[in-house]
Amino acid sequence: MHISDGVLSAQVLAAGWALAGVGTAVGLRKTDPDKIVRVAFASSVFFLASLVNVRIPPSSAHLSLLAPVGLILGWSAFPALLVALLLQALLLQFGGISTLGINAVNVAIPALLASLLFSGPIRRASGPWSAALAFAAGFGAVLLCAAQVAFILYMSDKGMMNVSYFVFAAHLPLAVVEGVVTLFMVSFLKRTAPDLLQGVDR
């Protein structure tokens, strides 16, 4: 999901910046200033999660925790993830600067959809149902992100259609791992700090 500079076409980059700008503006308007520390916390979690490598033979992948960030932040995920990606590009050499917009869209949209689709049902459900919904949120967020990356690579270079399928398939094991991690995180938060799953909207 950290697409480097020089890979995508100018049109795709411009579209990414436009979408990221809109999402960030909406996210900033909806953020409750009294809950800004939660935004910083979730942004830090995403920033550090990329350093955690999961061994998936024959290679490895890194965590992203898109669904947990989305469940905690909702629309505020856009500015939080944009800032985290900027810091990753500047400090850790992950991704690029010109691709910041499109990378933010790739991760923020799955996080936001996880919040819109699963936040309410997870809060209302209990026991195995809550765990299943949390797994589905984590699993689906990663797959959606992978599908977006595959589509974006295809839009930049139609010759990459075959490898686009590969990108999607290669993320299936990671989606399972993220689903399990999301399941445990949500279960823990529901027991200890359920208000964190209420979002940070005004």
């Binding site: 950290h2 400090l91 050499q93 990356v149």
Partner: protein, 163 residues
């Protein structure tokens, strides 16, 4: 008369064969060991894994826009090419997931003349910070995030006092 025509035809045919012979001979192939100097680069991810079997492109200083050489890295994530002119060469490697690494190689005439014993000027680039540098950068990143977050209530408190 017919016999003369047959002889003339055979003679013309043979003349045509010998005239076209250099082109015909070009269909054969051969090889020999080259003594030219090669540039060899290793590409890898921040996890330590090599960028195996990923596409690469080499651009020469004569025309950076032209793909001078295209191919795939080998099993060990290695790219090898033989430059034919001094100057700044660019090697770009990109995988199927949007990751891209670019290496700048400064090739001197001395390297071209010196065979494999000389080394081209390559400034290595780490895939990501390592060790203490990595943890310091992580700490800086998290600190920046919380400092930005702390600025918001401070600004609101000052604005409220101002009212």
């Amino acid at each position: 008369m017919t016999k003369n025509r047959i002889v003339l035809g055979v003679f013309c045919g043979l003349a045509l064969v010998f005239w076209a012979a250099p082109s015909a001979l070009a269909h054969g192939t051969g090889y020999s060991r080259s003594n030219k100097a090669a540039v060899v680069l290793d590409f890898y991810y921040s996890t330590g894994e090599t960028m195996s079997y990923t596409e690469f492109e080499v651009a020469s200083p004569a025309d950076p826009k032209v793909k001078w050489l295209k191919g795939r890295t080998d099993e060990d994530g290695r790219v090898a090419f033989v430059p034919n002119a001094p100057g700044d060469w660019t090697v770009a490697v990109f995988d199927d997931e949007g990751h891209r690494a670019v290496a700048e190689v400064n090739v001197t005439q001395e390297f071209l003349d010196g065979g494999n014993s000389a080394a081209p000027d390559v400034t290595p680039k780490a895939a990501a910070p390592q060790g203490l540098d990595l943890w310091l950068r992580c700490g800086l990143g998290v600190s920046l995030l919380f400092n930005v977050a702390a600025f918001v209530p401070l600004a609101r408190r000052r604005a409220a006092k101002g009212v």
